[in-house]
Amino acid sequence: MKKTIIAMMAAGLALGAASMPVMAAGKTIAVSWKTFQEERWKTDAAAIKAVVEAAGDKYIDSDAQGSAQKQAADIEGLIAQKPDVIMVVAFDSDAILPSIKAISDAGIKSIAYDVQFEDPNALYITFDNVGVGRIIAQEVSKLKPEGNYAFIKGDKGDPNATFLFQGMMEVLKAGIDGGKIKNVCETFTDGWKPDNAQKNMEQCLTSTSNKVDAVLSENDGMASGVVAALTAQGMAGIPVGGQDGDLAAINRVAMGTQTVSVWKNSVDLGKTAAAAAIALADGTAMDKIAGVAKFNGGKNKVEMNSILLAPTPITIANIGVAIDAGHITKDQACAGVKAGTVEACK
């Protein structure tokens, strides 16, 4: 009973208190990681392990070390241990498909974690990438519902730059059509480079004689250039949006020079996936798990059950979230912040 409560709490944290069926302990959740070379996957692993073990279930995993062959062998090994669910972070989303079929054939449930592979029997869990642009625009327009907006977009060659911009436009369309919001500058930034963003922002300010009320930057690196350009005009403090959860950006949020940094918290992703895996192990039908919707935005338009997690907008009000998650230390986040101005820095 105690275990159940802890598991419920953990899952609730991630899923926003969705109702869960009664769970039985003693299941096994396996994960096949593509690599542990990158620091971030260790964060995910720790989050998943914590939730699984808190529920009284067993966590096993393997590291493919950046090799598609090794990952196939890993998955065979995991199947042999007869787990209830196998989560896969695919190294190669096509080469993995036979292994996924083997998982299904063995009667084991599979989850595509963060990286999509198009198998209709698997549950796909990731962040809602298209939503990032939307959140940036929402947070900024909350503060500045009308005025002159500047858009510092990423590299022209990167489709993400366009997706992010589309997301922003979805939110701002009404304001623009209604004449409340004016798009005064809109530039792509070569190579997503902060120094290029700074020059673009400077020229934007020059050409508009500083008549800019808000800036939407498509990432935090470029936001640093935007803020530098604004500072030189004494305008730092107008709403500026970015994304990535850069440590320096979170610090700017605390200082009040950046409004929002949209952060994809991998702890969230791990917890959500772990809770979903436990639910699957307990026999919950895939489409009955909280937050599951149909998704067919992949390469081959295969329809899959999926959970698209909303990323966390970090604003001055919730910097504590990033500190508590261990993403940034309090010292880093609050460096140079005037005492008493930010709740989380007290």
């Binding site: 809109e186 070569d190 020059t206 050409s207 500083n210 935090d220 004494g234 610090n251 010292d331």
Partner: protein, 467 residues
Amino acid sequence: MTNTTSTSQGPALEQEGPIKKFFRATEIDTRILGMVVALILVWCIFDIWSGIIRPNEGLFGGSFLTPRNLWTLLVQTSSIAVMSTGMVLLIVLRQIDLSVGSMLSLVAVATGVLQVYQLGPSLGVGHPAIWVLGVVMCLAIGTIIGAFNGFLTAYAKIPAFIVTLGGLIAYSGVAFLLAKGETVAPMDQNFSVFGGGVERSWLGPFWSWIVAFIACAAIIYAIVNGRRQRQRFGFPLRPVWAEVFLASVGSIVMLGTTLVMNSYAWPPKLIENFAKANSIVIPAGIENKDGKAICMAAENVVRCTEGFILYTGYSLPALIAIGVCLVMTFVATRTSFGRYVYATGGNPEAAELAGINTKWLTVKVFALMGFLVGVSSIISSARLNAATNALGQTNELYVIAATVIGGTSLAGGVGTIYGAMIGALMMQSIISGMSLLNLAAAYQNMVVGGVLVLAVYLDQLYRRNVK
């Protein structure tokens, strides 16, 4: 020996027209003159064009020929301009450094990590030792990496192209690891003065005029002294009118630039902050004429014509770039080091036979390039108030392009420092101007690439005609 009537060697002097006579007497480099004319033309076009899109207070009604944009242009050019002066010497020496961009990333990230993660927490944010150590570290690391490049080129005999291509790839990797792929920010508040983005990095009109007058005095001294030297040996002299002309052109350019810098007013917000901080009463606005000064109108601060105003004057990075240009011109033309660089570029074998240690010379020039990268990394990281491994990436292309547009020949032996400065200014003018017009980076790249090729083509034509 006997002298027959006309044994003067070389082509006979033709009867020359007034224009030709003018150029011969003043010894003005017509190629540089052409570049300056082209630059001014580009400026005018951008001003007119931007005025059509969005009228502003520029000379032709646009945004380009405003004190503000020209001021910004100088700041934006400074980092590339500083590096291009070093690249001139390297290319004159028949070497090249493709790694300057990555080196800049590495140096900037290193100083960022030092300031933000090491010294900041241990000494306390804003401690004066931080900026000193930060600057020293930039210059030292830059010089050491440069010397390393030079050592591999000169002593290990690996072609500079390969050494620095390797450096281009490797140093950015080091920068990535140092920064762990993150943006390191914010830089120390004293250090950021080098970036020109804060009030403290603006000289103000008074000191700007002092700088200008010193520069004018130096120009006049140089001309008078040169004349006296030539008199000492009874050499042919320039006509007095030509000397006066050169002195006045030099002084006018200097004073004009200063005037423009001094007519860029502080941004209104900053004036307001300044007034508040110093308890200066901002006069009430009679009229909102959209001038440069600020006044109080009810609760708000508005622009007006006669109110409270402050002017920026030269910014530190622009001043550093101008200073580096002067020092490097001096090094290139007035020291034996510079002479050796040119002679070695003209004929490496001859230089070696003349007793010049060309290997050590190569190491020194690479080290100098590294030092200048250090200077640029200070400017760039201070300006962005952050250091990332993306800072400086692809800068090598712009530095080499500025150098080549400025008339430096990749065959070696030929090139001037001021040419490269004008080249850098030309390139940044195009980028900034097109950015003012809201034209995407892709178009900017296309035009800059085209200008590079065109400049070299015109240069070839010019040289062929002169020969």
